[in-house]
Assembly symmetry: C2
């Protein structure tokens, strides 16, 4: 993955690594304040106190910088995904579902601007972004699919459901809710309600149980 090297392949010394990191951070900042379409290489450079030409030493374009940020973000999903490693039996199951939903919301709160670009680019067919998305979401999707399959074998989940499809549906729900809960909240729903309800839907879809 993001092997630390300049665009021409040369490995980076200490100074260069610092510059690259500052460029990444500036990209992140500008992404949050302006939308992706208004992030200018010139301004990223300006913010770092360097010149555009420097930017192009490390990244082919703005997207490539965002790709690195998306790749870094993927790591933050790991602890969330591990909430699915234990079966969701009994009372603890619903708690785990709540923690997962809440964790997912937090993850998006931290990486919202980057995730948006990742999803846009992936949806528009950019394979680099598809890969990083698959790698990120896969951590959750695969585990949900496995749990659904387990519960299906135990007769709790309908055999007419496809485990992987259900997992994709749940991740879709999570992603979109996490992405847009702050558009809902001003309209009279609290975050707590959103988390609780989403967690219950998730819990039931995965386990087939009523808590």
């Amino acid at each position: 993955m993001s092997q630390i090297a300049a665009i021409d392949g040369r490995p980076l010394g200490r100074r260069a690594q610092q510059t690259r990191r500052r460029l990444l951070d500036a990209t992140y900042d500008l992404l949050q304040s302006h939308g992706i379409r208004d992030v200018r290489v010139v301004e990223v450079a300006r913010q770092v106190g360097t010149s555009p030409a420097t930017f192009y030493q490390y990244f082919r374009d703005v997207d490539e910088a965002v790709l690195v940020l998306a790749d870094e973000a993927a790591a933050d999903v790991e602890p969330i995904a591990h909430l699915l490693d234990e079966p969701w039996n009994g009372k603890g199951g619903l708690d785990a579902a709540r923690a997962l939903v809440d964790g997912y919301f937090r993850f998006w709160d931290d990486h919202r601007a980057v995730m948006r670009v990742r999803n846009l680019a992936a949806d528009e067919g950019d394979d680099r972004f598809r890969d990083v998305r698959n790698r990120t979401l896969g951590q959750v999707t695969d585990r949900i699919a496995r749990s659904v399959a387990d519960n299906q074998r135990a007769g709790r989940v309908s055999p007419d459901i496809t485990p992987y499809s259900a997992a994709a549906a749940m991740v879709s729900m999570l992603e979109r809710m996490a992405s847009y809960h702050f558009d809902l909240e001003p309209r009279g729903v609290t975050r707590a309600d959103l988390v609780e309800t989403t967690a219950r839907i998730l819990h039931h879809t995965v386990t087939g149980r009523k808590p």
Copy 2:
């Protein structure tokens, strides 16, 4: 809504309306082939065989043209939303859910590129796009919320669920699944599976029944 007028407010004659329509269609086409970030006003104009200055007579920028397209697309959701007007009892309920999911997928297949921009812009805080999204999704969300509330009163849906949150979760699931099913299909899930599974999750969340 999209009152047909030029940027300076003057109403449009026949020729002007044609030009505007051709510009909208060209915008739609370019949106599909290139991503939003590569849609150049120059090229929209070129495709219509006119000059950039003409484009700016009708739209302040590319976004505004896409906004009109998103507004037009909203109408196509109406028949889908009406599938929620009858309560989802018995066997017909699951069929209605299937039709809704399938309809939603088709809707996205027709308007994918426009919907992507709508969601991006809305997520990035653009109020015009938020409005059109709320107007579009609201048709479905409000009806789902009402159904959930009905079934909740009848004791089939847990009182710990907030109807509006559940509706938002279901619409989120639908949107994202519709938006990215074609990224899943190459990975070994058929569209039929996705529709069936999504429909069952939707059906259960709305009605609280096992079909």
